[in-house]
Amino acid sequence: MYFVTWGIAIVGWYISNRNNNLREDRKEQLSSIETLKDDAYELEGLAVEYHTSSSRNKELEKQIKLKIQRLNQRIEIHQLLNNNSQKCVIKSLRKSITLDNFDTDSHYALTRDCKLDCVSAYIPLGDKPDETIRNRSLRPQSGARH
């Protein structure tokens, strides 16, 4: 009887500890996703500002390239996307902002209603991390944000 009591206590502690770790892990993931979204929106703002400006802004060019690089590193560090999705998303993002009318003296202003492909490039970032979390068997907690 003595051993059964201790056994139940240990098993109970193990389950409780495991659930706590999963909950903390999920919190960290969600926090990383929020930061990533903020970075992506900030990058969108810079890209729109750059491409709608009538003159070339070299400082903004440096900022945009650095932000894309950091966004990529953040996704990698927090393992928010699988390798193939990450390559695809970052490549599309970089091309949509920096392939044409970028880093050039013949820069011209695009109109506000002109479509910038960067929007479609980073939309998957909002969905895939959730998928990653699900794949890691982290069950959503009640009231948790999605």
């Binding site: 440096k62 690089q69 091309k95 920096t98 880093d103 003296d105």
Partner: protein
């Protein structure tokens, strides 16, 4: 095999397509570092890490420009090895090599 570290041997701020766009553009990088090895059929390793980011226009002009200059994608891929911690850059460069003539 020759090794070119872009950040050390070219610039930490590679930018632009043509010489009119800036002093460290894709055209200049292609002419000074890529073309000589391609002409001599010598293998070349390019290290991309260490710069403050790349614009696609720089990458397209440097690597896609090799195809427009008359080198075949097969030859380019055989001679040039890309090393980068950002695998999306490597993939993008190979895309430009494959589509360079378009």
């Amino acid at each position: 095999m020759k090794v070119v570290n872009i950040a050390k041997d070219f610039s930490k701020y590679p930018a632009g397509r043509n010489k009119a766009d800036g002093p460290y553009c894709g055209e200049l990088f292609r002419e000074t570092h890529l073309e000589p090895s391609m002409q001599d059929n010598k293998e070349l390793t390019i290290k991309l890490d260490g710069t403050r980011g790349y614009g696609s226009s720089f990458l397209e002009e440097a690597f896609g420009g090799l195809v427009r200059a008359g080198h075949t994608p097969v030859k380019i891929k055989k001679l040039i090895t890309i090393i980068s911690s950002d695998s999306s850059l490597k993939e993008e460069i190979f895309e430009y090599i494959d589509e360079g003539g378009d």
